[in-house]
């Protein structure tokens, strides 16, 4: 946390290396979050690029340096939602057997990815942020701009739906 704070300060003081290090630290988690939300690898990469560009431009507005994680995911959330709004009705499910670990059966991976894409956006987001990104409920509440109780309900409903889909 302290290192992250230092990197933010360095970036604000014009040290480009500071921001580059933040990008290196966060690009994979943010990319994975966007990919799970959007379901398309190339598109997720372009959006990930946009997220860091916005973060760089708006870094000065981050008042509480210790809330960088939630702040960055909030930018990713806004980016994903503005993209998802354009694609209402469409479903992206990429079936690329070359990506990811070989140890997990491809059938299971495809089934889970498809099931995730069938959830409503707000429920999928909570499942992704909790299961894959290991964020706290309070952080997810900031990202979704919703009460913690709502976030918890969304996770429960998401799990119920996934259980129904995956059997």
């Amino acid at each position: 946390m302290r290192t992250e704070r230092n990197l933010i300060e360095r970036a604000l003081n014009g040290d480009s290396e500071g921001f580059s290090l933040l990008v290196r630290q966060w690009e994979k988690p943010i990319y994975n979050f966007i990919y799970r939300m959007i379901g398309n690898r190339d598109e997720a990469m372009d959006l990930c690029q946009d997220v860091f560009l916005k973060a760089f431009r708006e870094l000065g507005t981050l008042k509480d340096r210790d809330r960088f994680t939630a702040w960055l995911y909030r930018i990713a959330h806004n980016t994903c939602y503005s993209r998802l709004r354009k694609d209402i009705g469409k479903t992206w499910v990429e079936l690329d057997p070359d990506s990811g670990s070989r140890s997990v059966s491809i059938e299971n991976r495809i089934a889970v990815e498809r099931a995730l894409q069938q959830l409503p956006d707000d429920q999928r987001e909570v499942v992704v942020l909790k299961v894959y990104q290991d964020l706290k409920f309070e952080e997810i509440a900031v990202i979704q701009d919703a009460p913690v109780s709502t976030v918890k309900s969304r996770l429960y409903m998401g799990f119920e739906k996934l259980r129904g889909i995956l059997g």
Binding site: A11, L12, G14, S16, F19, S20, V23, E27, K28, Y31, N32, Y35, R41, D42, M45, D46, C48, Q49, F52, L53, F56, R57, L59, G60, T61, S99, G100, S101, V104, N108, R109, V112, E113, V127, K130, V131, Y132, F137, K152, S153, L155, Y156, F159, L162, R163, L166
Partner: protein
């Protein structure tokens, strides 16, 4: 205690206090319905977690030659002061100026077109930089591997009698 309901995810993710968890444990020993749901959610959770994370197809590159813009001073001030500042600015902008407020239509179109192209070119440059960064990191890894192989061969050659002399 009533059924766990939505608190099942709290139980599963270890988000309960000691007391809540103890109460839930007692309930689960008596309630087959909740116990089944916990087991089912647990299985689902592990199945979800088995999904591997994905490597980004290229590196993110952000053009950092421009300094990060710090917010204007009013952004840090209280809402009241900000409101006053905003009012002053509004009055200033509403005051008629000697310069025409709008550009001629062709100039507007040209500016918009140039902005659009700048944005498109910028994105393409960022994408290519990302690919270049990835290729550079792969090249570096290949160089290291070559160096390690050469070093191993050298050591091996030294161990073979008559070769290391």
């Amino acid at each position: 205690m009533s059924h766990l309901g939505e608190r099942i995810t709290d139980y599963l993710l270890d988000e309960m206090t000691e007391l809540e968890k103890a109460e839930a444990d007692v309930h689960l020993q008596q309630c087959l319905e909740c116990a089944r749901q916990v087991e089912s959610f647990k299985g689902l959770y592990f199945r979800l977690q088995a999904l591997p994370s994905v490597e980004p197809p290229r590196r993110v590159v952000v053009e950092t030659t421009k300094k990060v813009s710090r917010p204007p001073l009013w952004w840090w001030l209280s809402p009241a002061v900000s409101a006053v500042a905003a009012s002053i600015l509004t009055v200033m902008f509403l005051t008629p100026s000697a310069r025409p407020a709008t550009m001629p239509a062709p100039q507007q179109w040209l500016t918009a077109e140039l902005d659009k192209r700048d944005s498109e070119n910028g994105k393409e440059i960022q994408r290519l930089r990302g690919e270049l960064a990835l290729l550079e990191s792969r090249q570096l890894a290949a160089k290291r591997e070559t160096f390690d192989t050469a070093r191993s061969l050298q050591l091996l050659a030294q161990r073979i009698p008559g070769k290391g002399e």
